[in-house]
């Protein structure tokens, strides 16, 4: 039965947005109690390792790009905590629907660095993840993959599976209609899907305050009747606390969630971009102090879970792993022309056979 309007004038709904932070920029604890695992190196060190591995990957990718061995590349410098925390809160059988900047999440989930290089090197095989087979490939059209995550979550719910879809987006993506439509449907259908907005405060040259008049991005979810919260995106402990709870609740039927993670894009938008055209280096300088890796490292060292020596060793290991991946990547021969046709349909329609023939002839002559 439809509702009739309230009896008389008055307030009919109230909302608030809450923020979580445990560590400040110097690794000092600012909220208590900490989650229990915040003293457990078995939980924290893997997070730290992935963050460092991601940054090492990033540095190498930028080098490869500069030397013409990779295409346009979108660095995740300064944002490594978000994906790490999110992915580490997921179960293997959950599904990640990533943006193009969540390398740390992908690495945690078992996507290989070789695969990432292949993709950014212009090779489709980079999205044929040997690890997380059901994870989505990177979506280049901003925001459009929010619909996919919603569909994945619908499948989980319909099959009574206790699985969660996790979708990563940027602040710019929150202006897209498809993001909103997805959030709204996820709310209406009460789906196990988490939308994680990495608010790095820039969408190429557009700062978030030009993107929207909303004072937080978390509040975007209010429009869809979806639970939401804000978290320090450079504080991996806060992130993981929030992500674990959200994913757990979604898994056990409490519906979708929007998490806004406040971070900062320390690099250019991509290697095709020159951020000095539109933002002051001084702003970037200030933000470097918020670095998520340093923050966790300081905390780890203060808590005697880690030492500078461990750190040197880890960096060494990470570099070695990246170098191996680079080698594998560079040794991967190009696909033949045939590959343009091989995965177009399950079976190539007969009518396309002569186009394939022509392509093969061109290849021979090229």
């Amino acid at each position: 039965m439809r509702k009739s309007p309230p009896e008389r004038s008055g307030t009919v709904a109230r909302f608030e947005v809450n923020f979580t932070r445990y560590l400040d920029a110097n690794g000092k604890v600012v909220s208590t109690p900490l989650p229990r695992w915040a003293n457990d190196p078995e939980v924290l060190l893997p997070l730290y390792r992935t963050m460092v591995q991601t940054r090492t990957f990033d540095t190498t990718a930028l080098n490869l790009q500069r030397t013409g061995r990779l295409g346009t590349y979108a660095s995740s410098l300064g944002q490594e905590a978000i994906g790490t925390a999110i992915a580490s809160s997921m179960w293997t059988e959950d599904v990640l629907v990533p943006s193009y900047r969540e390398f740390s999440a992908q690495l945690w989930r078992g996507v290989t660095m070789t695969e990432l290089f292949l993709l950014w090197g212009g090779d489709e095989r980079g999205s044929d993840y040997q690890g997380p087979r059901e994870d989505f490939p990177v979506s280049i059209p901003v925001g459009s993959h929010a619909c996919h995550a919603t569909g994945v979550a619908y499948a989980f719910k319909m099959r009574r599976q206790k699985r969660v879809a996790v979708c990563c987006l940027g602040d710019g993506a929150t202006s897209k209609g498809d993001f909103y439509e997805s959030l709204n449907a996820a709310g209406a259908w009460h789906l196990p899907v988490i939308f994680v907005v990495s608010n790095n405060q820039w969408a190429i040259s557009v700062p978030v305050e030009k993107q929207t008049a909303a004072q937080t991005l978390a509040q975007k979810a209010i429009a869809a009747g979806v639970t939401n919260e804000q978290v320090d995106g450079n504080d991996v402990i806060a992130l993981r606390t929030v992500a674990e709870r959200a994913i757990d609740e979604a898994r056990f039927g409490e519906g979708p969630r929007l998490i806004e993670a406040l971070t900062y894009r320390l690099s250019d938008h991509t290697t095709a971009d020159d951020a000095s055209r539109y933002r002051d280096e001084s702003e970037v300088e200030l933000q470097r102090a918020n670095d998520p890796i340093n923050r966790l490292k300081t905390y780890l060292i203060k808590s005697r879970m880690w030492s500078d020596q461990d750190d040197q060793k880890l960096n060494q290991e990470c570099k070695q792993k990246v170098e191996e991946a680079v080698k594998q990547y560079l040794a991967t021969p190009k696909q033949p022309s045939q590959a343009m046709f091989d995965y177009l349909y399950e079976e190539l329609p007969v009518s396309l056979q002569h186009q394939l023939d022509a392509a093969l002839i061109s290849e021979d002559h090229g």
Partner: protein, 326 residues
């Protein structure tokens, strides 16, 4: 056995596949308790429940996009867009994702979805309810575009489309939703995709068409027969990928071709067919290829829609013209 209409055949195919395969679900605006504004999904909610017969919010982009996520997970979503005019909002998802996800992931993820929409004019509906934009979809690599034109083919081709492991845009000619009835046994037998159907054999001219114009083309062929002209009528059925072979062989025989569609002339799918013939059949064409189509104008509101739509008279006229050439 009772005879059923085209839209009933669609309904029958949906019910059949949903019974046979628990991964199939339908979604869209008003597909549930309402049974679809054209009744294509009538009765499905009662049979299959509201998880598999899903009323969506009023969000076409979502309908396209959410189907992709479902399909990647192994479900087989059959999404309805209420009228083709509103399918524009799905093009981003269809072109940039549905048609590409197999290719993008080297076959790791696939997209076995069907996007259904009623299309075409002639029902005195408001603006945007009469579109024929099949050419927009047919240009997209990785996609299939299928259009049935009889109850039989609606049933058989929809079964085939649902079973097809790749995305299919399935366009239903609403003007003939209830025009013709046929016996359509519910035997679960699909018809082949990717091939044209010769629905009336003939020798003097080949009429190539699809959707509701198939009906008008058959009427035209009857009229032509009275004049002693034998027209072969081909229902293209699967626009993409295009079975030019069947058309080409027919034109080789007749030497003359008239292509009929409701969509505007320029860049309509008739252009592709004509261009293929211009390449493959140039030397056995006895006459220029004529296209009888909508004009390159906005589809007028319904008071003028008869003036816009290709009529049997225009078809007959075009055939007579191409027959003038010796």
């Amino acid at each position: 056995m009772a005879e059923i209409t085209l839209v009933e055949a669609v309904n029958q195919a949906l019910a059949r596949e949903m019974s046979d395969n628990k991964n199939v679900l339908v979604l869209g605006e008003d597909v549930g308790i309402d049974g679809g504004v054209f009744r294509a999904t009538a009765g499905l909610l009662d049979k299959f429940g509201d998880e598999r017969v899903l009323d969506t919010p009023l969000s076409e982009t979502l309908i396209g996009g959410v189907s992709i996520g479902m399909a990647a997970q192994g479900l087989i979503p059959v999404a309805e867009i209420q009228f083709m005019g509103f399918a524009c909002s799905t093009i981003d998802q269809i072109l940039n994702h549905a048609a590409r996800i197999r290719n993008r992931t080297r076959g790791r993820l696939t997209c076995p979805m069907v996007l259904r929409a009623p299309f075409g004019g002639g029902i005195r509906a408001p603006e945007h309810h009469s579109e024929s934009t099949e050419a927009l979809f047919a240009h997209i690599p990785g996609l299939r575009v299928v259009i049935p034109s009889s109850p039989e083919r609606a049933y058989g081709l929809l079964l085939a489309s649902i079973r097809n492991p790749d995305p299919v845009v399935f366009l239903e000619p609403k003007r003939i939703y209830r025009l013709v009835k046929q016996e359509v046994p519910d035997n679960g037998e699909a018809l082949p995709l990717d091939v044209c159907f010769i629905i009336r054999p003939g020798n003097d001219v080949t009429i190539v068409t699809w959707g509701a114009m198939t009906h008008d083309s058959l009427v035209a062929a009857d009229k032509l027969a009275e004049q002693g002209i034998s027209a072969e009528v081909i229902d293209v059925a699967t626009l993409k990928p295009l079975d030019i072979e069947t058309i080409s062989v027919s034109v080789e025989k007749t030497g003359r071709c008239v292509i009929v569609h409701e969509a505007p002339l320029s860049g309509g799918w008739g252009a592709e067919i004509s261009a293929r013939l211009a390449e493959h059949n140039l030397f056995n064409l006895l006459a220029p290829i004529k296209r009888v189509t909508g004009y390159d104008t906005v589809m007028p509101l319904f008071r003028l829609e008869d003036q816009y739509m290709p009529s049997t008279d225009r078809i007959v006229g075009a055939v007579n013209e191409v027959l003038k050439f010796e």
